[in-house]
């Protein structure tokens, strides 16, 4: 987490992620039978799946960077590694600054607690003091547009409400680096305009944004640089237009 290279906000150095799973229908009985019969053709197999393969990229400070790719390309896995939720099988990640993330819609909340309590908890996780969070309550609640339900438990929220609240928290806690996963298609037209404006303000204030989507227009609208992730590898990276062109080619082939 140190800023040994201050030019970049995010540095990703040849990340590889291999998931290991036992084959389905694994039972203790089968494992035991394999063990005692020295069966060469074992019933219990370790299945390997390479979700990311040698992924490299850097994000400059103040840049809006896009990651685009079809479903199953490894986008979410990559984000989890960036957030420190998951450990890469090999490779290194450096995050230089505070980080806020919106991973998958409307999650990351404690379902039994109220919206207001979740705002407090999320703020504390991101390293804000109670005072700072309390001073931001009004702004966050106002922005999310769910004032009437803010003291109800999150589990009673519709998915749209939860997303609006999580978006509102993520952008209003003012981190150095903001990661947004598939969130720009959130909410109704009014909320979309509002969130677009907020993200633009955020970008203009010189903060770093990482936008992840399979939606070409969102990436084109916001990002200066992007990379195309396809089946776990970086197919191309560079100017957003070129990356999106390549994405369209890939899409038409498959």
């Amino acid at each position: 987490m140190s800023s040994y290279n201050s030019e970049y906000a995010v540095e990703v150095n040849s990340i590889t992620k291999v998931f290991r799973r036992l084959s389905s229908h694994t039972t203790l009985k089968k494992a035991f039978i394999d063990l005692i019969t020295f069966n060469r053709n074992k019933q219990v197999k370790m299945l390997k799946f390479t979700a990311l393969k040698d992924v490299n990229f850097n994000i400059k400070r103040g840049e809006t960077f896009g990651i685009i790719g079809p479903n199953g390309a490894g986008k979410s896995t990559l984000l989890k590694i960036l957030c420190g939720i998951m450990r890469p099988t090999s490779g290194k990640v450096a995050i230089n600054g505070s980080l806020s993330a919106l991973l998958e819609l409307g999650t990351g909340f404690h379902p039994e607690l109220t919206g207001r309590e979740n705002i407090l908890i999320n703020g504390l996780i991101l390293g804000l003091s109670k005072k700072e969070i309390v001073s931001k309550y009004d702004e966050i609640i106002e922005f999310s547009g769910i004032k009437d339900f803010i003291d109800e438990p999150i589990k009673t929220y519709s998915s749209g409400m939860a997303v609006r609240l999580s978006f509102s928290v993520a952008v209003n806690v003012n981190p150095d680096i903001l990661i947004l996963d598939e969130v720009l298609a959130v909410g109704d037209a009014e909320f979309q305009t509002k969130s677009k404006k907020r993200i633009e303000e955020y970008i203009n204030s010189g903060k770093t944004v990482l936008l992840v989507s399979h939606d070409k227009t969102a990436i084109l609208n916001y990002c200066t640089e992007a990379l195309l992730l396809y089946k776990g590898t970086v197919l191309t990276k560079g100017k957003t237009e070129d990356v999106v062109d390549r994405y369209e080619e890939v899409e038409s082939v498959s």
Partner: protein
Amino acid sequence: MGKNKIFEGFRVLAKYKYLIWILSFKELKIQYRGSYLGFFWSLMNPLLLLIIYTFLYVIVFHNPVKTYTVYLFCGLLPYSWLQSSVIIGTGSIAGSSSLVSKSLLPPEIIVFSKVGAYFLNFMLSLPVLIIFILLFKVRIGFPLVYFPLLAVIEFFLTAGITLFLSALNVFYRDIQFIIMNLMTFLFFSLPIMYFDNNLPPKIRHIIYLDPIAYLMKCFQDIFYFNMFPRPFYVLGVLLISLLFYIIGYSYFASRKELFSEFV
């Protein structure tokens, strides 16, 4: 580097103390939401045990100790804190898949908040203990100054055990079921429902191989026997609990980035 890692567990506690505090309160609130009697339920379990054991000890076995109920209560309450935290905490990481895999919450906070919630439970049941102490005219006094230290010791001991088990339970779900049974066994191995001086010396030595037995003894010293616990015991248990905490936290920290794949 190695030194840094040893103290990491303490740094996390210091950094997130307010968050842990809040989540512990919320945890308690969630437990009793929608029930009419609320917190009363967490007193029910020790009170019922109290009735059963008092019946056994005083009426069936004709034990002459009049204040047995108070003695029992002194050990039962701190033991309940440990037992509930360990049982509930062990399954807590495996049971919070959305928080573990989709939020930036450090997973150890989930475990701390369980231990914290049962600590609050423990604190809230202390007034009932005091009522029993007054009813049975048991003398208490200055040894009570040891209470905060004993609570700190129990916190680190419980947190260390729970962190270790909760991480292990992510990969081997049998742990939570094994633990549930082991905790019953542990209870009867501790001098809580019986007096240690009724035991044959050989068995007494075996029982005091367990650091938890010393901790329970210290609680009984201050609440029941009105005497200062032996400093040697307190220091010993303190060091052991810190060691448990460091080991438990280190194991947890070494595994936590794998949790999201397995929960």
